[in-house]
Symmetry: C2
Subunit: 212 residues, 2 copies
DNA sequence: CGAGCGAATGCCACTCAGTGGCATAAAGGA
DNA sequence: TCCTTTATGCCACTGAGTGGCATTCGCTCG
């Protein structure tokens, strides 16, 4: 029969984690494009065929920490109390809760590597953006199921703003965070970015004196 | 010497346009993944090597209309009068101006095909998102050069909101626009999306009665 | 403690996107 | 007409990603 048996499962998790850690290490030292999948697989002693049974592609393996975070986000979103709070506040609280759930030091280190890589590798950044947008699609479904939301673009736009704030925060964090990078630091940056959203809408622009 | 001579240049533009139109036609009828570059190149009677001298990849050729739009945006951004208007208003006006500049019926048809394709092809959507973000980087440079902007994330966040509004508008337009798709329709949708931004920040969420 | 079952893996051959190098053709200028 | 510049074609190659099939390993039940 098919009872979830720990031993099999643990081996799988170990292989998966080995692929992730080795990928992050190799990509970080020699660049994303400087490492072939064959090299990565040889290092982990796994066939390339197996690699593709765990991950959908080369970018995917390097983005695993972010996947974890967003998966936690979706799970939190199902259980978070939905009083009459502003949607933005609700989503921010959900993300912060998700962040606490995944928050162990090992995750922070991996996540920082992931984001640094995505900043210097356009295909990873593209993959990352698309993943956020795609997750946002699921987020919209959950929100409409749990909340009485109007059927107009505002909900989607709010989601996009959340993602924008997250990316600003994560970008700065990955670039400037100390060693070891800390999750509270990331959370604080994210909170600040969300708080900056209203101000960015009304920001006025004075021309520089030397301009025309 | 190297004087820009029309005849050579026109030939190049014709090849380029043939690649774009053929790509949009083939991709639209048989799907992005259902067409190989070899087929496309054979149809246009061009070597694959030549294809890659015009475009950076398979996604790139299908996104050409969007590139045109954003290039126009950047050009408009250099010349648009910068009084003390809110930044958001300024960027919106710039994009609407860019839209008027590229607005011929042929462009609208191609752009609609592009966006429809990007909605059903994840690699194209990823490419598209990354392109917007990357263009936004250039936008930030121009803005900081021309305007006296604070050195904090708000400017970037405003840019991300503009992109979010644009994507919402373009997505709806591509999916619902009539035949032929009209540029004024797109412009109106975009204006509405930008106008919806403040409301999306303050949108409140009442729980559905059946939810817990 | 085996036998057998299903899941996970390895191996191999294949397609296709994308690149580098070099020879060739087509334009433009003198 | 000659000569330089520039675009193109051709060929071979790398590397990502996939499908099929045999094999091995963990598990369960007799």
């Amino acid at each position: 029969m098919t009872t979830a048996s720990p031993l099999r499962e643990r081996k799988k998790q170990r292989t998966r984690q080995a692929l992730i850690d080795t990928a992050l290490r190799l990509f970080s030292s020699r660049g994303f494009g400087g490492v072939t999948l064959d090299e990565l697989c040889e290092e982990v002693e796994v066939s390339k065929r197996t690699f593709f049974r765990y991950f959908t592609g080369k970018e995917d393996v390097a983005m695993a920490p972010l996947h974890d975070m967003w998966r936690a986000f979706l799970e939190e979103l199902e259980t978070i109390p939905a009083d009459g709070r502003p949607l933005m506040e609700l989503m921010e609280a959900t993300l912060l809760a998700a962040l606490e759930r995944v928050a162990d030091p090992a995750w922070a280190g991996r996540a920082a590597l992931s984001y640094r890589l995505s900043q210097e590798t356009s295909s990873m950044d593209a993959y990352n953006l698309h993943f956020c947008e795609s997750t946002l699609g699921t987020v919209m479904e959950v929100l409409h199921r749990r909340l009485d939301l109007p059927d107009d673009p505002r909900t989607r736009l709010a989601g996009d703003m959340l993602v924008a704030a997250w990316r600003v925060a994560a970008g700065g964090w990955a670039a400037e965070a100390g060693d070891p990078p800390s999750v509270p630091d990331l959370a604080a940056r994210f909170h600040a970015a969300v708080a900056a959203l209203p101000g960015s809408l009304t920001l006025t622009a004075d021309p520089r004196p030397e301009d025309r």
